[in-house]
């Protein structure tokens, strides 16, 4: 089953120099393990390929049902050097939430996950 990350998580993002950070938080505690498994380092790096020029770092915060990602080379130089509208990485949060996850049907049902609207 297809599940949109935006339907099962919320997020906030910010900057440190040329790095954007994105914190992703499960909307329900029981959804956190699935989100932590799905948002692997590789999956997030692939999602932002062509958007960022550097590496991705990934941290788990099970106490907050949250993950934190550092997206290096995300802000066109960052701070005052950047010419971007989003020079401070404020909307990388929902860029992350554009991700769509493939979830095993049985697991999706037992977790009561909302199914992505069919295109």
């Amino acid at each position: 089953m297809k599940v949109r990350l935006v339907d099962i998580a919320h997020a906030r993002s910010g900057d440190k120099g040329d790095t954007a950070n994105v914190g992703v938080i499960a909307l329900r505690p029981e959804w956190y393990p699935l989100i932590a498994e799905s948002l692997s380092h590789a999956r997030v790096a692939q999602h932002f390929a062509g958007v960022i020029t550097g590496d991705v770092e990934r941290f788990e915060l099970p106490n907050l049902n949250a993950l934190n990602f550092l997206l290096h080379g995300a802000l066109d130089g960052g701070g005052t050097l950047s010419l971007k509208t989003d020079a401070q990485g404020k909307v990388f949060s929902t860029a992350m939430l554009r991700m769509v996850l493939d979830v095993d049907d049985d697991r999706a049902r037992s977790l009561k996950l909302p199914e992505a609207p069919r295109a």
Partner: protein, 459 residues
């Protein structure tokens, strides 16, 4: 000054300003909306110090956050009559002038002699920069590793991020108002708690709790319903949003809340969103006083608009301080025009090609030219799906160069496109784009031992 004594005594620290330019009404609303012991005002962002340095070069009595003087005026009755104490990093590169301005406004409002202003100095490393470099402190850029010597001749300001110790000293000496330069945002909250509860220099867990309390409220309403993605449609009465208050006890546990009757919302999701804001490695949130572990934080609902925070662990601080250095890094300008239906995006794309060709034909040199199409893909770039035709598009083009003349010429090339470029174009009423000098940020580390802070009391 707090309600009860003993181990259950509660100290309330209210956040009244999350950055220089935040809501002017917030400080007054925080001291008038209910009981608070301390008002914490954070004015400094990464490049604020350099702006203030430029102001001080023009006028030696400037160089601090002027908004703070208005804020002090608005909270003066609470400070003088009810004993609310104020801690602010509004001093910028001129904390002494800032403190004098506070005393002047107090005198003008009939409170002469009723205020003691503690001034924390010593964070300003600009006068010592060459000595430091000569003594082998490279002040290498934490992101690129380059030594500061590569941009030394363009440095505008250099300030060490200082911690809670001098603020605690000022409070212990009886300051009603403490003004600092580049102290960390979090120390402004932690220091009052450390002072009230007598936390020691190695009470790592409690110091870390104070730092995390500071992190939660340092961006003002960003933990109480502002910029909150979670259930944003149903967050009540943002027009009347309540800024956050920390209610702390001596053991380092605290509740995040806001005054009754205010708008916004404080719940576990709103606090969690702020906890992950601008987060680096959550296991090591490094401050001058302590290294806090965000993986230890526990949150629990504690009634309406109340979140309890507990379980926080800290580790010994490092022997370094972070230094915020600002340097001149060329010039930039950004121009925009709006293209209307039909084929808005194609017209904007054609305008972009035309302008770039003209810039090339003039032989202008830019370090960078960046085009965005606002309404199409400026926010999420290539992650944005192509859906229906955009009804209108804002074309936005920016250039950056060390050559000011090239940037100036660029600013003359936008408006002509209204008459000599693609059709159905508008949105040029703002006139020519402004050329801005870029002041860039250079984060570095320095040994703690080279930074000597000083506390003075002015009355």
């Amino acid at each position: 000054m707090s309600q009860t004594s003993g181990s259950n005594r509660i100290v309330r620290v209210a956040a009244g300003q999350g950055f220089w330019g935040d809501w002017l009404d917030a400080p007054r609303r925080q001291v008038e909306g209910g009981p608070v012991d301390y008002l914490m005002l954070d004015y400094l962002a990464e490049v604020t110090m350099s702006i203030l340095q430029k102001q001080k070069e023009r006028d030696p009595n400037m160089g601090y956050a002027r908004d703070f003087i208005g804020a002090m005026e608005s909270v003066l009755p609470a400070v003088v009559d009810r004993g609310v104490r104020v801690v602010a990093n509004a001093g910028g590169v001129n904390p002494v002038a800032c403190a004098r301005a506070v005393l002047e406004v107090a005198a003008a409002r009939g409170a002469a002699g009723k205020l003691k202003v503690g001034v924390v100095t010593g964070d300003d490393l600009l006068p010592h920069l060459d000595t430091l470099i000569d003594r082998g402190h490279a002040l290498a850029n934490m992101e690129t590793g380059e030594p500061l010597s590569t941009v030394r001749d363009r440095v505008l300001s250099a300030n060490a991020y200082i911690g809670s110790v001098p603020i605690v000293e000022a409070l212990a000496r009886g300051a009603n108002v403490v003004v600092t330069g580049r102290s960390t945002d979090t120390a402004l909250t932690m220091a009052p708690l450390r002072h009230e509860f007598g936390w020691g220099a190695t009470d790592w867990d409690r110091l870390a709790a104070g730092i995390i309390a500071g992190h939660i409220i340092e961006c003002g309403a960003q933990c109480s319903g502002g910029n909150c993605l979670y259930d944003w449609r149903n967050i009540p009465d943002l027009a009347n949003v309540g800024y956050p208050i920390v209610e702390a006890t001596a053991d380092g546990t605290f509740v995040v809340t806001k005054h009754p009757g205010t708008g916004g919302r404080i719940n576990v999701p709103s606090v969690t969103e702020q906890l992950v804001y601008e987060m680096g490695d959550p296991h090591s949130y490094i401050t001058p006083d302590v290294v806090a572990d965000f993986a230890s934080i526990q949150l629990a609902p504690d009634g309406e608009n109340r979140v309890r925070v507990y379980g926080i662990k800290g580790r010994p601080a490092t022997d370094k301080l972070k230094v915020s250095i600002a340097y001149r890094a060329g010039f930039k300008a950004v121009g925009t025009l709006v293209y209307a239906w039909p084929d808005a995006l194609e017209k904007a794309q054609l305008a972009d090609r035309v302008l770039r060709e003209r810039l090339d034909n003039m032989g202008l040199r830019f370090d960078q030219v960046l085009t965005e199409f606002v309404g199409v893909s400026a926010a999420h770039g290539p992650l944005t799906p192509r859906t229906t035709e955009a009804p209108e598009v804002q074309w936005r083009i920016g250039v950056r160069s060390s050559d000011r003349k090239a940037v100036e010429r660029f600013t003359r090339e936008i408006a002509p496109l209204v008459l000599n470029g693609p059709p159905t174009v508008t949105g040029f009423a703002g006139g020519r784009p402004k050329v801005e000098e870029i002041v860039a940020y250079w984060p570095a580390l320095v040994d703690k031992s080279v930074v000597q802070t000083k506390v003075e009391l002015l009355a």
